[in-house]
């Protein structure tokens, strides 16, 4: 049923060096509100519930339809995208916090660039010869396409990393998203040329061995990517590769 108002408790931190504090906001309820529409409303009228003037909330956002991966944050303690968090489905007061495992920028914005560095480290690309006309790509069955497509929908939102108990400074774990991309490129007919290098990047500290099978990743993934399946498959490949490498030396 329609509430008369929406109450949000938002964790604020003006810069990385400052101390965090909480502010509460009360907005008039409208149908179809989501967390991003609430944050936009606060920007137009940045006044707390107690009537104190404050600053608009800093947060990352772009597409607002859950394909760009920008607006990830903790909403009522859960790692998810703010745009697809509909107010009607959230318990109030709604708690908004920045991700806890990434360096804070300001308020709800964090620096999640580590995901892109990880993708670089595992060479998450198909090594094409060049962009000149070389004719069509390799033929693929519908089944192969249907296997690759779900993995290719990863939006690099890093929800799986935030939710993973093993993803922390101590382990240096690369996280589920990157492993699923290794799976994607290692199964592509051209991409598999770099298979050995990708598997090698996942060996040792911070690699796939850090996974503790908590399965939180697959639980929070907004795109329902079969992450645990990808981890299991890549894990097997890494073991095989390590074994082969042992005898090559």
């Amino acid at each position: 049923m329609a509430n008369k108002s929406v109450i949000l408790r938002i964790k604020r931190q003006p810069n990385p060096a400052a101390k965090a504090h909480w502010e509460e906001f009360e907005l008039a309820y409208k149908p179809n509100m989501n967390v991003t529409s609430c944050l936009m409303e606060i920007a137009a009228n940045p006044v707390t519930r107690e009537g104190k003037a404050t600053t608009p909330i800093t947060y990352d956002s772009n597409c607002l339809e859950e394909v760009c991966g920008s607006c990830a944050m903790l909403i009522n303690g859960r790692a998810r995208m703010a745009c697809s968090a509909l107010i009607d489905h959230l318990e109030q007061p709604i708690r908004l916090e920045p991700f806890s495992k990434f360096p804070i920028v300001r308020d709800l914005a964090t620096d999640r660039s580590v995901i892109f560095e990880n993708l670089k480290a595992v060479k998450a690309w198909v090594p094409v010869d060049g962009t000149y006309d070389l004719g069509p790509g390799p033929r693929m069955t519908q089944e192969e396409q249907e296997g690759a497509y779900p993995l290719s929908r990863c939006i690099s939102c890093t929800c799986c990393m935030e939710a993973c108990p093993q993803f922390n400074e101590e382990t240096g774990f690369v996280g589920a998203a990157t492993i699923s991309q290794v799976r994607l490129f290692n199964t592509h007919p051209t991409g598999k040329a770099l298979k050995r290098e990708r598997l090698a990047a996942l060996m040792g500290d911070g690699g796939i061995q850090e996974c503790g099978y908590a399965q939180n990743c697959v639980e929070v993934c907004p795109k329902d990517i079969p992450l645990t399946k990808a981890i299991a498959e890549v894990g097997g490949e890494v073991m095989k590769q390590a074994f082969v490498d042992l005898f090559r030396r």
């Binding site: 137009a44 940045p46 597409c63 760009c68 690309w125 693929m140």
Partner: protein, 594 residues
């Protein structure tokens, strides 16, 4: 010259990334600037597919047919030679994307599958589920990451373009940009720059565009002397999902796969749509346009929906909404070909479109107008190139669905090499005679002014007013009197902007000051749109005036070119003939085959 050319690319969507790859491949060095990490650019929102006449369905399709459909769909306003070149390049672009690993849908034989889209009778659209833009962007993003790992590309993500650095001769020598975290303003030298900053949706408040699509960069360049062409041509997509924060796109591919648009025949009929029998439904697009049916071009479909809702008062529940129905299509086919968009509808509306007809309404989607460029993607300022939605070249008065992705990649692939060639021909490198310092100082002062301004106007509220104003009078149906009032109100809003008061005056990740700057640029560009629309007394493509309902080739077969007159602080206009040397003019109608 000794050193490798240094090119700055602003914007990391499809057009920008395409340019970057070409430059890196030629041995140039690239600095790539983007407000968001490039993988999060607005190109991810493109859904339905990308056009190329591969003729894999035995229909006798050809690049000439693609060219003809594009020119005809654009109501003959596009210069024809570059459109022809784009359509000829499209099949090669699909092959390249296929080689890069885009998971395009496949036929039983393992070949690329193609579907139908608006404004054509051929199956010409390659697709990866219903998230084609995302898949294409990722493929190019991955290739750029590879060049980044090799040290040929340096990314500046979370940086926003503020202005071009022009030397005393009016030649571009680099850019001035702001770090969105530290708020540092800095200049960057380059031999040439390529602007690939996408759409302008934010000018209309709510649109299908992403948050970063403000047109701020284009507007800044227009105010620095670039021509802005055909600004009055704004595409309103017939099927979007109205929302509180934005209008979410419901792809044309829903109709490409057989989706049907209808309303109940009886006004105010509030029965469950599934219980309304066929005989009491009005499939108005199929009735009015028997040849193209639900796949008429977007401007045509949008006007039809407006007519049904506002003239016949047949919107669902009396509201501005019509049904887009997929429920007659096999669930397996829907999941295989449209899953991404069905998921968006399900997540944001809460109904399953496999079971319940979707409720949709037109929403601002795309600008056909943009920075004026020549056939090599060069603007009128030496050293400034442009590609993608932010330029005007390929879509005339109305863009066909699934042509935007191909125009982005093609435009970037022309702009990249053209900028390198230009750079190689540059005579020596100038220190710009202090133009870098001067530009930096100017932009810093502008920030300080905004920060210290003591006023009463909240920029986010002003923006809200701008959006309502522009949506009401500068989109689907246009009247001269309203357009004149719109421009007068824009002048008022610019006046009120002087009294802007930022609620955030801090020096770290301050979104208010950045937004206020964007807003100012939106206001200036809005006047180009409103005045351009006021002048063009005809109806052509997306530009429709009930008082001038016909296309007027005698007087208006010409490109509108706006330039900023600094002394007057407003746009001035010139016109340029359209190159129609390849396909003769003919009336545009979709109730019969061409």
């Amino acid at each position: 010259m000794a050193a490798a050319p240094k090119i700055i690319v602003v914007g990391g969507g499809l057009a920008g990334l395409s340019a970057v790859i070409k430059i890196a491949e030629m041995g140039g060095n690239v600095d790539l600037f983007s407000i968001v990490p490039v993988k999060r650019s607005h190109s991810v929102c493109a859904q339905g597919g990308i056009n190329a006449a591969k003729n894999l369905k035995g229909e006798g399709d050809s690049t000439w047919q693609h060219f003809d459909d594009t020119v005809y769909g654009g109501d003959f306003l596009a210069n024809q030679p570059p459109v022809k070149a784009m359509c000829e390049a499209a099949p090669g672009i699909i092959d390249l994307l296929d080689r890069m690993g885009v998971p395009f849908n496949r036929t039983a034989e393992g070949l690329l599958d193609f579907r139908r889209f608006g404004g054509t009778l051929y199956n010409r659209t390659a697709f990866a589920g219903a998230t084609t833009g995302q898949q294409l962007l990722y493929a190019l993003d991955e290739q750029v990451r590879r060049y980044e790992a090799e040290g040929k590309v340096k990314k500046y993500e979370h940086w926003e373009f503020l202005s071009a650095v022009l030397d005393g001769n009016g030649v571009c020598r680099g850019i001035c940009a702001i770090d969105l975290r530290s708020m540092e303003v800095r200049t960057f030298p380059a031999d040439a720059i390529i602007i690939c900053t996408g759409g302008i949706g934010a000018i209309f408040g709510k649109s299908t565009n992403s948050v970063v699509c403000t047109g701020s960069a284009q507007s800044a360049l227009y105010q620095q002397g670039c021509y802005y062409a055909n600004g009055e041509f704004i595409q309103v997509h017939p099927t979007s999902i109205p929302g509180e924060d934005k209008l979410r796109l419901m792809s044309e591919s829903a109709r490409g796969e057989g989706g049907r648009v209808w309303v109940p025949k009886k006004p105010g009929d509030n029965r469950d749509p599934k219980s309304i029998p066929e005989s009491e439904r009005w499939y108005f697009l199929e009735e009015w346009y028997p040849k193209y049916g639900n796949l008429v071009p977007r401007d045509v479909a949008t006007r039809a929906i407006f007519k049904v809702v506002y003239e016949y008062h047949l919107g669902i529940d009396g509201k501005p909404m019509v049904y887009l129905d997929l429920t007659h299509i096999d669930r397996k086919i829907l999941d295989r070909k449209l899953e991404g968009i069905l998921e968006i509808y399900e997540k944001f509306v809460g109904d399953d479109p496999r079971v319940t007809p979707m409720k949709i309404f037109p929403g601002m989607h795309y600008t056909m107008g943009g920075l004026w460029i020549d056939y090599k993607q060069a603007t009128n300022i030496p050293g400034i190139y442009s590609a993608g939605e932010c330029e005007y070249q390929y879509h005339g008065a109305n863009r066909l669905g699934a042509n935007s992705l191909v125009s982005c990649i093609y435009g970037g692939a022309i702009a990249g090499p053209a900028s390198v060639k230009y750079a190689q021909g540059l005579q020596g490198s100038s220190d710009g005679n202090g133009c870098f310092e001067a530009e930096k100082k100017k932009q810093e002062e502008s920030n300080v002014r905004l920060m210290n301004n003591q006023g009463t106007e909240n920029p986010f509220k002003l923006w809200h007013e701008l959006g309502e104003l522009m949506t009401k009078d500068c989109t689907v149906i246009r009247y001269n009197k309203n357009l004149e009032q719109t421009d007068a109100k824009l002048v008022e809003l610019l006046e009120r902007f002087r009294k802007v008061n930022l609620s955030d005056r801090t020096q770290w990740a301050n979104t208010s000051v950045v937004f206020a700057r964007q807003l100012y640029n939106m206001l200036q560009l809005s006047r180009v749109i409103a005045q351009g629309a006021r002048m063009r007394d005809e109806s052509r493509g997306a530009h429709y005036k009930p008082d001038f309902p016909e296309r007027d080739d005698k007087n208006w077969l010409k490109t509108t070119k706006a330039y900023f007159a600094p002394d007057a602080d407003e746009p001035k206009f010139e016109f340029e003939p359209v190159d129609v040397s390849l396909i003769p003019l003919r009336p545009r109608k979709y109730d019969v085959a061409k």
